[in-house]
């Protein structure tokens, strides 16, 4: 008797989310298949996308080998963002770290003006991450949304503590939201349920928090994998959103990445590849050479 390999077809489809406008736009998600299950029925119309980090201030604690490729632009966020394009990024991710009350407590106005300047200076979509301070982010992210009205930036983190205010600003000004929860699938779903009551589900991207290799990456891996399975296999509407893996900062915090360049690139690269295999749809990296390494790996060169 001839053996026929079983072929699965799934009922869930990850929502296809568009970030940016017009020529400066890209699509993520849209798959109706599990990651790497090419042998099953279905497809992934939008293979994983990559963004590089830009900070809104000169980084103070980066090792020399992380600063090196960006040395000439690292004091100017706009030039830095433009330079990212030399590395063939799909998007740029601006981190408004200076607005953190524990860093410089920079005002929301200033952050919003910078966001707009960066968004206009580049030819790819812009991702904006606030400092993560749940109170200050209400002010900062709302202002960013307002000043960049209609540009459809991908803005976050929207948290369970501030989703009403931040979500409303993102919605009113035509942007897309990053819903972030602390490595817990039940909390992740709860936030999506609550946000979706007034916010369109096809404008939400999930940030489940990405831990670095050796520092809890397996939790992130299992979580991303589970979100995909529940969305694609069981068609749970509240997990059928694309996933962003913001891992650059986490990886470069580690002792191993700081020690030397090769180790740093591999640390960030292995974390990124693992989360890609788990099903992440867009990855935020720090080092341009990691991006190159991953693209080469994917293309098996």
């Amino acid at each position: 008797m001839e053996y026929k390999a079983p072929v699965e077809a799934y009922s869930g489809v990850v929502r296809e989310v568009t970030i940016g406008k017009g020529k400066k736009s890209l699509k993520i998600g849209g798959e109706n298949i599990l990651p790497l299950h090419f042998f099953d029925q279905g497809s992934n119309p939008n293979p994983a996308k990559f963004a590089l980090e830009v900070l809104d201030m000169k980084p103070e604690d980066w090792p020399e080998h992380a600063v090196e490729p960006l040395r000439d632009v690292i004091s100017n966020s706009v030039s830095w963002a433009k330079k990212c394009q030399d590395f063939a990024v799909d998007a740029v991710s601006l981190f408004l770290v200076s607005t953190d009350p524990a860093v410089k407590n920079a005002p929301a106005d200033k952050a919003a003006a910078l966001a707009k300047e960066v968004a206009e200076a580049i030819n790819v979509p812009l991702i904006i991450y606030g400092s993560g301070d749940e109170k200050k982010d209400v002010e900062v992210l709302s202002k960013v949304a307002e000043v960049c009205d209609g540009m459809n930036l991908l803005i976050g983190p929207v948290l369970k503590e501030n989703y009403e205010a931040v979500g409303k600003a993102i919605l009113d000004h035509g942007h897309t939201a990053i819903a972030q929860s602390p490595l817990d699938i039940n909390l992740l779903k709860e936030l999506n349920v609550k946000l979706s009551k007034f916010f369109p589900s096809d404008r939400i991207v999930i940030d489940p928090l990405s831990s670095a290799l050796g520092y809890g990456m397996e939790y992130s891996f299992s979580l991303v994998e589970r979100v995909k399975q529940i969305g694609v296999i069981t068609k749970d509407s509240m997990t059928m959103m694309p996933i962003i893996a913001n891992l650059g900062g986490e990886c470069w915090k580690t002792k191993q990445a700081k020690e030397n360049k090769k180790q740093g690139l591999l640390w960030e690269g292995m974390t990124a590849l693992s989360l890609l295999l788990a099903g992440a749809n867009i990855i935020v990296l720090r080092h341009p050479e990691t991006l190159k390494l991953i693209k080469e790996t994917i293309e098996a060169r």
Binding site: N186, K189, E190, V193, K194, K197, D236, T239
Partner: protein, 295 residues
């Protein structure tokens, strides 16, 4: 379904204060209320009991027996307190509980034999909590065999699979499903044994106002699979109505959800919809979140 009233429990501050101060009225009011609400047993959960163990237990048992004719469930991990409690009971009590842990097995099970009472035996062993259905079955068979060798017949044994909170990230729903399965096959592997669960554990960590719904639905689901008894809140009127067969429409909906039948939610009342959604969470069909009724 045999209901073991859970309300006299040291975790409740009023109860622990009443026990410490020997305030009989507080305890007796709780015993009376549960009796009137239709409980079959009154559980006396006294915790670990560090001092005046025997005297406290005797006081508690006789205080409760003054106002109710129901049999008691003596709920403590302390063997000295356990023996004092069993000795003071007028009706055949329930020893709650023993487990497969060496200490528990060697100290509690002989008491069940000595006082000729029913005994709750949990699936716990020295290795901890067995993680899946197969290992639960394996553990309980070992412990029940040990009990049989002491002369305790299966008919006196109430097996407790141990419920865990359904809200535990990643794991909770898997446990809820495993325990449904465990109860379903228990009769086949250990003919004659009874079963029980600490029902409210399933909703631990869930927002307070949502807990009763999880407890009720899970009890109906476990009941359908053959559960004999539960340590639960008899003062929850809806819970009692459900198990007494006074809400057949809701029970039928829960069964349909268990069977994975298509249910047209738009034709149901909001309350019926909530019961269906809760059943779907407890059978692991939809992912749990605190907002499970809202999506």
């Amino acid at each position: 379904m045999v209901i073991i009233g859970e309300n006299i429990h040291v975790i409740a501050k009023a109860v622990s204060t009443a026990i410490r101060e020997r305030d009989a009225k507080v305890i007796q009011d709780l015993a009376k209320a549960q009796t009137e609400a239709g409980a079959d047993y009154i559980d006396l959960n006294v915790g670990p009991m560090k001092k005046d163990t025997e005297e406290t237990m005797q006081w508690l048992v006789s205080t409760v027996q003054e106002v109710t004719d129901l049999p008691l469930s003596i709920d403590t991990m302390n063997p000295v307190a356990m023996e004092a409690g069993l000795k003071a009971c007028q009706k055949r009590p329930l020893l709650n509980s023993a487990s497969g842990k060496t200490g528990s097995k060697e100290q509690m099970l002989p008491l069940a034999k000595k006082y000729n009472c029913d005994v709750v035996i949990s699936v716990m062993t020295d290795k901890g909590m067995p993680p899946d259905v197969d290992s639960k079955i394996e553990s309980i068979m070992d412990t029940v065999t040990y009990a049989n060798e002491l002369g305790i017949p299966n008919e006196d044994i109430w097996v407790d699979p141990i419920l865990l909170p359904v809200s535990t990230a990643g794991e909770g729903q898997r446990f809820a499903v495993a325990n449904l399965e465990f109860i379903k096959i228990l009769e086949d592997v250990l003919p004659g044994v009874k079963s029980t669960v600490g029902l409210s554990n399933v909703s631990n960590g869930v927002p307070d106002q949502l807990r009763p719904l999880l407890n009720r639905v899970y009890l109906v689901m476990l009941g359908r699979n053959g559960l004999y008894s539960a340590i639960a809140d008899p003062l929850d009127k809806e819970l009692m109505s459900l198990i007494k067969g006074e809400m057949p429409k809701i029970v039928e909906l829960i069964y349909k959800a268990m069977d994975g039948e298509d249910i047209d939610l738009s034709a149901l009342s909001q309350k019926q919809v909530e019961y269906v959604k809760t059943a779907r969470v407890l059978k692991g069909e939809t992912l749990y979140s605190n907002a499970w009724l809202e999506s």
